[in-house]
Symmetry: C2
Amino acid sequence: MTRGLCAAVGALLVVSAPALAGAESSRLPLMPWPAQVEAGEGALAISPTLAWWADGPASPIVERAVERLAGRLALATGVPVRAQRAASRDAATLRLRWASDPRWLTLEADESYQLEVTASAALLQAAGEAGVLRGLATLAQLVVPGGEGFGLATGRIHDHPRFAWRGLMIDTARHFVPMPALLRELDAMEAVKLNVLHLHLSDAEGFRLESRVHPKLQGEGSDGQFYTQAEVRQLVAAAADRGIRVVPELDMPAHTCSWLVGYPQLGSRPGPFRLGFDPAAAGAALDPSRDEVYAFVDALVGEMTGLFPDRFFHMGGDEVVGDEWQQNPKIRAFMEANGIVDRRALQAHFSRRVSAILAKHGRTTMGWDEVLGDGLLQDAVLQSWRSSKMTARATAAGHRVVVSAGYYLDWLMPAVYHYALDPADPRGVGISEQEVKALASTPFAAYLGEERVMDQAASLSAAQEALVLGAEAALWTEMVSPEMVDGRLWPRTAAIAERFWSSKETRDPESMLRRMVGVSRQLEALSLRHEEDRRLMLARLAPGAEASALALGDAVAPSRYYSRLLRRAMAGPAAMAVPMNRLADAATPDSAQGLRFAQDVRDLIAARERSGPRLLRVRRQLVAWRDVSPALAVSAERQPLLREALPVAADLATLADAGLRALDAWERGTPLAAESLGGALALAEQHAKAAESTSTSLVESLQPPPPAEVVLTAAPPIRDLLREASGR
Amino acid sequence: MTRGLCAAVGALLVVSAPALAGAESSRLPLMPWPAQVEAGEGALAISPTLAWWADGPASPIVERAVERLAGRLALATGVPVRAQRAASRDAATLRLRWASDPRWLTLEADESYQLEVTASAALLQAAGEAGVLRGLATLAQLVVPGGEGFGLATGRIHDHPRFAWRGLMIDTARHFVPMPALLRELDAMEAVKLNVLHLHLSDAEGFRLESRVHPKLQGEGSDGQFYTQAEVRQLVAAAADRGIRVVPELDMPAHTCSWLVGYPQLGSRPGPFRLGFDPAAAGAALDPSRDEVYAFVDALVGEMTGLFPDRFFHMGGDEVVGDEWQQNPKIRAFMEANGIVDRRALQAHFSRRVSAILAKHGRTTMGWDEVLGDGLLQDAVLQSWRSSKMTARATAAGHRVVVSAGYYLDWLMPAVYHYALDPADPRGVGISEQEVKALASTPFAAYLGEERVMDQAASLSAAQEALVLGAEAALWTEMVSPEMVDGRLWPRTAAIAERFWSSKETRDPESMLRRMVGVSRQLEALSLRHEEDRRLMLARLAPGAEASALALGDAVAPSRYYSRLLRRAMAGPAAMAVPMNRLADAATPDSAQGLRFAQDVRDLIAARERSGPRLLRVRRQLVAWRDVSPALAVSAERQPLLREALPVAADLATLADAGLRALDAWERGTPLAAESLGGALALAEQHAKAAESTSTSLVESLQPPPPAEVVLTAAPPIRDLLREASGR
């Protein structure tokens, strides 16, 4: 079908170049980077009328997607672009060709596409609607300056995803995520070609879904913040429009405190139960020995499959402690009667029965990697999370796997960390055996085991690798309030989306970071609030010194892995309830301004550039950082929340001041006497080390936090500048 | 009712001080400033539970308003505030007392309230729900740093509006304003106590309202962008929740081209008619001689009163040229037969008949000041706009008046301009007789007349002043695309809202500007997009030099009055269709950063401050401005839209450089030799003059524009700095 058109188009094409390399490719903020890109010269001008021609079956999906494209182009350019059907193919500047794909909105949907942009038209061909959507997302990223304003970069793109399952999991239970936020995230997901929204809908803190069959689930099991069924329908429809499947997760048998508030009879111990984070009640779990529990689940699943049409249904299954099972004589008796030897076997029993219920309702079971166990239906999909090697273990058992190990956004790692991890690599993420031992006498011991331990020797056979369906970035929201959601997701998730879509070989972090900064702005134009919310959070921290707070925010990232959460969890519910309105909450793991500074310093040094706009930018940034300290000190007299940040601001000022002296020396081309830096170089080295660490050590996470629970991400480039200028 | 409670509260109150003066009052970002403020000491801590107690009739309005308050407090503080009914009055931190007011949501509603905030509770008393809403809006602005984070400033406030009609008119016809934007504006309006949203729903560019009775109105009379009836219902309901009345305007008999596209038989000349701006078709008008026209209007009004419950209905009536009437023999015959002597009398005939239709449907007529004429129903409300004196003229004729003369937001005047105008002052806004003469041979002549001419001698009697119901800020959208709406409205409209609500004597521009900067941030937290959209628009103009574009944006404002629109209108439809994606479109009349700089310079000079954070801020801003030029020059090589801005950036750099030298001298305490400034002082004087001009001269508006159609608002403070440092 497509070959004839391609040949015809070939003649029109201004194809100029082989695949874009290095610096050039960074200019086009395409993310995920496509499988093949041949850049042309010039651009297709963007005008107010987007005349389009459809050579495919009638499709409201495509029609609405073209309207969204028009809106995206308008936002990216200020040209009031509106979609309009062209009178003929020749009159169209956007020509689409696709066929009906019966696999639409399934795991098997064909998402490949070919895009050809010439100076006169853009041609997009795809096997089905999914490919059209992905191609249009690429097209929206091709906006470049040119002509009398803006155009679409010409060229030829052949593209297809590496993984069919490219998901984002959002925990809506720990903190409720308001519906407008979820709808925004769908827009962002579409832009970066993610195709599964996995919603973690229940946990100890709340049951976030309206059930009419068991109305006490949300009625007593939430603080009133839950999604109504009408809202779920709206969300699922908006997701479908974007080629995004919605997979619901009802986590069981543990993490069910919110169920037990209204239905204590389902529990493994007598109630009452109460909502909220409580380490003492973390063992609460459904009673796997009673038929009533399965009848309850059956009715619930039956209701929910009416809301969530996707074939997959996530039953959770993680972190079952099992103490309550052991302590309940009836459960012990049940185990004995049925030859169930231990907690794991009992969970396997539970998983099998729930899995059968799901199958009865036409759903394929999905579960966290703990669900792996004897007799689980072979078609169940496991989500590896405890360590990368669980990917190997689950695929070895013949299960399909979705990988989340290493893609936890709540670890607050920088984008480069996740970007470097390959979903199909079973090594790399996990903790050490020493750590497990060291924590044996802590309350965490119940959650630690050999499954957490990193296995550098693990490997996948080709058959196993074929069972890796894809991966999911996951945002657990213990420490994510509504105003932080966008900032904790974006732009990092765009980099992860590239890891899930693009070839294994697309892995230059430099190129990724440059493009990610551009994508961040594209997402802002789509109404994503990551940048705006960060600005507002920083500004309100520093009355009278808002600009200084913003500058400080560009220089720091929240401290990483579990260092913020673990200490709070240890301190109990009150510590968990502390408002998230501090510097570390406002700070982002990847400040766009901070990344630009780092790139500028890198480019300056690499090109031995001793003047010009780049040097001016670096100087201006350093001046801004040098000056934050006095202004914040004055402001902190009024705002106590700011006080913890003053030592950070003081260190930043010291580093920036040294950086400016280094820059002066660099500009003059004369080396800087190292001794003139005083302790600044040592301070820079020390902060840079902390800022560059992506350690996943729980033991380290339990150490006293750095001031204000942030790391100085401005330190590594300043250190480089100091080293360079002082000849070290 | 309220006296007893007041006495009881008095004992609790930590009242410390007389009314706040000058600098102190600027700290509390209250806007509009209340009638009486007595500040206390300390604050009522903001905690996650907003326990409230209602001593008033059951009211979903109040209930939802308290929920919105909780949301606003959460956004302002990061504390996850949620509203919860308290078990007892004593357990409540927010205690509300009100009675049922049958005048709710009418012009007569009582909006007064008393607010008492102590360290333990906030007490709000009002005669009716409207007062509760206004008091809660004040409460939301009382957030201050304190305690362990944030609190509500203690004190006592007695407040009531000066005018009962405090409106905002939005033209949804010239550019369609998407529904999400209108819903955002309602949130902002509530925050600053505006209570009328006047929607201009039809004009030559489009009929923006779904009619089922006359479906070709929006079907053929729009580009598909209109509000469905369901959307209107949603908007009206959201407005009602906020105590905001929605007044629809269907502009007739002129400005009706969009009606005539689908219904040419209603016109005064034969069709066909086409949509859009076309000076040649500006005379198009309904035929006032035919009963069919009135029957059409009758059916339409009957349908629309079902959507818009407000008692007032705006029939437009502005800018009737009348040529087509004179040229139509049938209309001339009709006039002769009925003793109608001229165009004005014919419009009066039309207005009378439409007014009677409106009365039949239970609606009070509202119209632009042209509607003033013989025999118009006495209860019709006129909206003065052509000049301030039309307020005098209409009230002299016994009509109630809503004032818009001087409150046109599309003039792009700075907030201080509008703030200085008193709605009840019939002098001051208008053009000169000379201008009318000078333009006699231009196409504008038809729209100019003595009604436009400023009358410095006009005055209002007390009886006339009593007829001034209030005023409306008005945003005409010929040059406002969807992404510009918030920026063209906010924060300026907050200052205007203060003019409409607060006492005549509240008029210190310094205090207003300081508070407006704070209010701007409050509005951002409410999801208003003025700041974010400005940033995005500036950034996309300057690929690779985004920070410099933002810095330039802080230093400029779009050129004022009709200087941008008039030249485009003269050049015809193609010029009007040029995308609004340039510097002048992105720039705001009141840049927060620019205002802060001006304040800092003013404070520095006034306090003879030669060091400290303020001086550092001024220096940092000047450095940023000095450095914009080279970066933008590089970027403009890629983005042609940026080129026109380079001369502006160059002048800004010259001024900032001189400003830095002046600041050095100021810091040292030694005078700067004036000659060392070269031409910089003269350049500063010249730019400052342009930046400080709020001339309303049409003749000047027709002069060639300044580069990039902007004025350098950074120039006046830099000029002051240069003058001060050089002892001039």
